[in-house]
Each structure stands twice: as C-alpha cells, then as structure tokens.
C-alpha cells in the first residue's frame, strides 16, 4: 500500500512536464526546422548553409509587398473590429434579455468550423449568392449575377469579414469568463449611481479590468488573423494571396528551391506577427493613456445609445451570417437545378449526398479517429496537471499562462513547415500519428483553459470530507471530483473535438497530403467551385464539431436528471 502511493507520487508530478513537452516540443522543434532551411541549410537536398539565397529569393518575389500588407491589414483590422463589437455589446447589453439570447447562441456559433463559416459567407454574399438571389430581380434588377469581385476581393475585405464573424463568439466567450472575476456588476452599479450611462460607465470602470484578463486571447486572434490559411484560401485574394497561403503553396511544390522559399517566408511570417504584437502593445499603452484622461474628465455619456445599438446590430448580423451561411449550405447540399435569380432550387434531391457518401464516410472516420484520440490524450494530461496541482501544490504561475497561449500565438505557418522538414529529414513518415501529435499542440491549450477554472473552483472541502471518510486521493478523484465535474469535463471534450475537427494546416502539412479529413477535403474543393460538393463536406464538418456540443449539453441533463444539485452547474 505505501509502495503504491510512492509510485503515484512519482507519476503524477511528471504529467505537467509531459504536458509542456507535448505542447511546446513541436513548436520549438518546428521553429528550429524552419530557421535552418530559411538560411539555405537543407542537407536532404544536398544544400549546406548558411546562405542568404532563400531570403534573397523571398524578397525578389514580386508579390511580397502585397502579401505582407494583406497579412498585416487582415490581422489587425479583424482584431480591432471584433474586439470593438464585443466590448460595445457587453457594455451596452450584459445582464439584459437580449444578451441572454445571444449568450445561448454562443456555443453553437463558436463550434462552427472556420472553413464552414467561410463557405457559408461566400455562398451568401457572392454575386450569385443567396442575398443577391433573394433581392433579384425585383430590387436590384439583375437577371444574371453581376460582374463584381466580392469573394476573394483584392483588399481582403471579405476575408476580414469572414474572420470577424468567427472571432466575435470567441472573444465574447473569453470576456464572459473574465467578467466573473472582475466584480463587474457592482462596479457598474456604482458607476450608475454616480450618474454614468450604461456604456460609458462600463467602459470607464470595467473595461480596463476585463481587457487585462482577455489580453492573451486578443493576441491569439491577432496572430490567427495574420496567418490563417483555410479562410484565406476560401475568401482571400488570389494574386497575390496573403503570405500564409503563399507559404503553403511553396510547400506544395515539388522542387527544393520552393521549399527553401517557404521556410524563409515562414520566418518572415513569425517576424511579422511579433512586430504586429509589438505595435498592438504600443497601441494598448496609447489607449490606456487617452482613456485615463477621458475617465478623469468626468463625462457621464458618450454616445451610449449609438454604441449599444451599433454593437447589438453588428453582432446580430455576425450571428445571422454564420447561421444563414449554414442554412445556405443545407440548401445547396440538397439542390437540384438552381438557376439565377431563383431564391430556391427547382427541386430538392438526395443525389449530392449519395454521390459523395463514400468520400464523406472515409473523411469522417479519419476525422473522428484523430479527434477522439487527441482529445482523450489532452484530457488525461490536463486532468493530470490539475490533480498534481491540487495534491502537490504545483500551481501554474503567470508565466505558465503565457506558455499555455504560446502555441496559439505563434503562427501555424511559422513552425509547421519546419516541423514537416524535420520529420522528412529524420526519415519519419508523415501520416496519422504525427498529425495527431500536431493536433495535440492546439487541442491541449483549449482543453486546459476550459477545464482549469471549473476544476479549481470546485469546493475542496468535498475532498477533505471524503478523505475524512477514508477515501484515498484516487478514490476522491474518480468517485467524487470527476463525477461532480461531469458537465465541464464534457464541455472540454467537445471543445477539444471541435478544435481538432477544424484543424487544416497541421493535417495538410504534417500529414504530407495523405491524411484526408473533412476539413482538408472541404478546403481542397474551394478552388473547384462545385457548390454542391462544398456544401456536403462543409455541413459534415460542421456536424462533426457541433454534435459533441449537443451531447455535452444533453448527457449531463440525462444522467443527473434526478440530481437537482447538479442541474445548473
């Protein structure tokens, strides 16, 4: 008996270290693998560096200035707009009935994969999209699709819009979590009693505290917007594309010169993201300085109604854009002949689904095997870390939080090319197992972030009572703590699954193009323009991410239907 306890003590404290290695190992290795070829060192191709050949090649590429500009503008605009809308929304509406409706729509909107949301938006606003069809010809006078470049526009505006509608739910969720720790309700009451308007009072009293809490998620949005690939392929400009897309194109070319270019580009991407984060941080300082002056000036109102109305209108538009996008995917997936400007197809048919059934089945199996294995591993590591923290006081510091966010802030395009190069050099086969390890890098932080708060918020006196009743630490964990935490556990599982389902670049690059998931198949269809095929794959991808969330809501309600104490936890 004492022997067993000793081994447990040895195993459990190892888990936090193992978690860090699983999360950061591939990132560090990938960055290392990027730097070498970026400076012309690629022994597999008989090239030994260092040389500036690749860098020179990159800067000679005529598309570079435009690609870099696109990367910067989409990232910064997306973050600024999404943040402004979410802050306006929370300032103007938190605690109201309208806000509760939006809150309820949050989880499903959040779990719709980026690629599916992007396809949906494209099918809505393209010249031959649903919006044009619904308003033609009676309003617009069009009897054929107008010759406008809306989707894949040169300025990346549609791509930015596609990113904004997906980042609003993410930032809103993070803000809601932060509000709980900021004493927001009382601060707002005090501000109101001093005569401040709803929005002004919130911005002056609560926003500074909330922003300090959501700073890292904001950085994630910024880095993601600058380096996203799947949304950029679907909605972004083509000639030239944003830098991240060009890196992936180079990676896909057979000759080694292109591979060197890709790694040089990856390094530039990393530098761009770091520079943008620096600029953002500077902007934070300026806003803080200006905000302080604004606060002490004592004005009670500052366009409160306008801000609140605009924020509500824009977030509702974003929600409808995602929901409407999914709806139009549904219609296309069952569409027979559908001529312009008819609002609905002539006939609905199952033919599209039957034609793609085999391919969808294979991709779904591959997607599910990867997502389930990766999420299971992430849960074991996360629970191990949190339990080690509980038993041995190995608590994560503020710096630890940074480590957790690092894989989400360092752009995927910066380290995945290097990781692929390393794997190939080491003679390791690309395939499903390396893809799983790559997914784990991104699934782990989200599972950890979602489970950590409820796990720590659990009343540890429960553990004291159970131990006083003679229950060992393992028995307390399995029989008391985890069952009580079933709901957050299943939510974390659903988040893990949906993050894995949505992964595009790790699957494509680390899988060497031979691991086909619903996401890679759907994005591969983007250039073909077969709307019916895109719709079936996009919907299947959405379902794969959405169904776990439905189960995470339904299962606890079913299991604990006779346990009042757990029904609203």
């Amino acid at each position: 008996m004492p022997g067993r306890i000793v081994t447990r003590r040895r195993l459990l404290p190892v888990l936090p270290a193992l978690t860090l290695v699983a999360m950061l190992g591939p990132v560090v290795a990938g960055l290392y693998g990027t730097v070498l070829p970026a400076f012309g060192h690629l022994p597999a191709a008989g090239l030994t560096g260092p040389s500036l050949e690749a860098m020179r090649g990159l800067f000679d590429w005529p598309g570079l200035p435009r690609a870099v500009t696109l990367s910067l503008t989409t990232g910064i605009t997306t973050t600024a707009i999404a943040l402004a809308i979410v802050m306006g929304l929370v300032a103007g509406w938190s605690g109201t009935a309208a806000f509760r409706v939006l809150e309820r729509a949050l989880s499903p909107l959040l779990s719709v994969p980026h690629a599916a949301a992007a396809f949906g938006l494209a099918f809505l606003i393209a010249p031959s999209g649903w919006v044009a069809r619904a308003t033609s010809p009676w309003l617009t006078g069009w009897d054929r699709p107008p010759d406008l470049l809306i989707v894949q526009d040169t300025w990346g505006l549609t791509m930015t819009a596609g990113l904004v509608i997906k980042e609003i739910p993410f930032l809103l969720l993070m803000t809601l979590a932060a509000l709980g720790q900021t004493d927001a309700v009382r601060a707002r009451t005090i501000a109101a009693s001093l005569g401040y308007g709803r929005v002004t009072g919130w911005l002056k009293c609560v926003f500074p505290r909330v922003y300090a809490q959501i700073r890292l998620p904001v950085y994630v949005v910024l880095a993601y917007g600058m380096s996203v690939v799947d949304v950029a392929v679907i909605l972004g400009p083509n000639t030239p594309p944003p830098l991240s897309v060009q890196i992936v194109r180079w990676m896909g070319e057979p000759d080694f010169a292109a591979r060197l270019l890709a790694n040089a580009g990856a390094l530039l991407q990393l530098a761009l993201v770091i520079a943008a984060l620096g600029v953002w941080r500077l902007a934070e300082r300026i806003v803080a300085w200006a905000g302080r002056r604004w606060i002490v000036a004592g004005r009670r109102f500052c366009g409160d109604r306008t801000i609140a109305a605009a924020a509500l209108g824009l977030s509702a538009t974003a929600a409808f854009a995602i929901a409407g996008g999914i709806a139009v995917l549904v219609v296309w997936s069952f569409a027979g002949f559908w001529g312009f400007p008819d609002a609905m197809p002539d006939a609905l048919t199952l033919k599209n689904w039957m034609r793609h059934a085999a391919g969808l089945g294979d991709a779904l199996t591959q997607t599910a095997v990867i997502a389930i294995s990766v999420t299971a591993a992430a849960l074991v590591l996360t629970i191990g870390c949190l339990e080690a923290e509980h038993r041995h006081g190995l608590r994560m510091t503020r710096r630890g939080m940074w480590l957790l966010y690092l894989p989400l802030i360092i752009p995927q395009t910066a380290f995945l090319p290097g990781l692929q190069t390393l794997l190939l050099n080491a003679g390791a086969d690309t395939g499903r197992a390396p893809v799983m390890l790559a997914h784990l890098v991104f699934v782990l932080p989200y599972v950890y972030l979602s489970l950590a708060d409820p796990f720590r918020a659990w009343d540890v006196r429960n553990a004291t009572v159970a131990a006083a009743l003679g229950a060992s630490p393992d028995r307390v964990l399995w029989r008391v703590r985890l069952p009580i935490l079933l709901r957050p556990l299943l939510t974390a599982t659903a988040i893990g699954l949906s993050v894995s389902v949505g992964q595009y670049l790790p699957t494509l690059l680390i899988g060497g193009g031979r691991v086909s998931t619903l996401t890679t198949e759907a994005v591969a269809l983007a250039s073909g323009g077969d709307r019916r095929a895109i719709a079936t794959y996009g919907l299947m991808q959405t379902a794969a991410a959405l169904v776990p969330f439905a189960l995470a809501l339904g299962i606890p309600a079913l299991i604990w239907r006779n346990r009042k104490g757990l029904q609203h936890g």
């Binding site: 006196r461 004291t464 009572v465 159970a466 006083a468 009743l469 229950a471 630490p473 029989r479 079933l486």
Partner: protein
C-alpha cells in the same frame, strides 16, 4: 496509552507570522471548544488536524490519536471525522449512496444496505435512501452528514462552525444530536465556533484564540 485526541505543542504560522498555538488533550467523550473571531486561524487549525493544511502555512507540533502519532499519516488514513457548516453531501449521489460512501468497506450488498437503512432510521429518516440530497431540508441534510461521518467509524470528531448555517431552533436540536452521538461513542470532539452558545452547550473546556 492516552485515549483521546492530543494536540502537542501545535504552532501554525503563515509566511513566518505565528497564527495559532495550542497544547491540549481532549479525553474521549469530551469537547474542546476553540473560539475567536473569523480569520484568526480556527479552520486552519482543523485543516492541520485533518492533514489538509494549505501549503502557504507551516506547522510544528504533533497530533496524537489514542496515543498514535498521526501527524504524518495521509488524511484518508487518520480516522478523524469532520463536519463543516455546509452539509457537503455529494450532489451526484443519492442519500443512501452518500452514506455507503462513508461506510467502511466490507459486508455483502444487502448487509451494507441494511446498515445504511438502520442509520437513517436512527435519525428519523426512514425511507430516505433513494432521495436526491438536494431535495432535503436543512435539518435533514445536517443529520445525513452526521451519520455519514459516523458510519466511517472515526476515532475523533472535528466541528468547523458546524451549526452556524442552521436557524436558531434547528441549531439547538442538531447540536444536541451531534454531542449526544459523540458521547455515546466516546469520541473526543474539537469544535471551532464563533458562537458562545455552541461552547456553552458543549459543556467542555473553552480556548479563545486571537
């Protein structure tokens, strides 16, 4: 040797600042009341006795139970029962399952069930085994928490403001029940409270901290 619960020269400090110092023996069937305002370290003292002292505190001294030094024994092997001001019945288990969780292992399914039923009957809660603890009244929950703890056969009992959430009428009733059961079983009781009435009802020695 000495039956009962002994706190031998216990000193607890937080970041080097002394908080609690106590050197006492509690004989079987006796109650020691520790009083003092909130924040003085009463609950911290109990967490040292149960073996769940948070890492920010440091403690010296020994805890002896019936002459056995349990200071370095794991919490679940100390055989020291505790009741908090909240009932802390596990919300995912039925009343009967909560009691079976406390009951020492051993015996057939039916025997265990019979023990649980008998324990419920003892506190006038016959037929409550399949109930959801969340549907019980405050007094009923307190009684279930008490017998859950007693079913684990503790050798000592700790009370952490155990009666402070109950309203006045119920409070005296539950308090008398707890003290009576502890006397029946000859358990040494260490009670922390901020209420002089609790201490008076206990009838034992009183130590005031802070």
């Amino acid at each position: 040797m000495d039956k009962g619960l002994t706190l031998r020269d216990v000193r607890i400090s937080k970041n080097g600042t002394p908080m609690v110092a106590l050197d006492r023996h509690i004989a079987p069937g006796q109650v020691l009341s520790v009083m003092g305002p909130s924040g003085v370290g009463k609950s911290t003292l109990l967490s040292f006795v149960t073996g769940t002292l948070p890492p920010v505190f440091t403690a010296t001294g020994r805890v002896l139970l019936d002459g056995r030094d349990v200071t370095d024994v794991a919490p679940h092997q100390r055989m020291i029962g505790i009741l908090f001001q909240d009932d802390l019945l596990f919300p995912h288990l039925s009343v009967g399952e909560n009691l079976a969780f406390g009951l020492r292992p051993g015996g057939s399914r039916n025997q265990r069930r019979a023990k649980v039923d008998a324990a419920l009957a003892e506190v006038d809660l016959e037929g409550f085994a399949d109930r959801d603890p969340a549907t019980l009244s405050g007094g009923q929950k307190a009684r279930v928490a008490l017998i859950r703890m007693l079913l684990s056969d503790p050798c000592a009992l700790l009370l952490d403001e155990a009666f402070s959430r109950l309203d006045a009428a119920l409070r005296a009733q539950v308090r008398d029940l707890v003290f009576a059961r502890a006397r029946d079983r000859d358990l040494p009781v260490l009670m922390v409270t901020h209420d002089a009435e609790d201490a008076a009802a206990a009838g034992g020695a009183v130590v005031t901290l802070g």
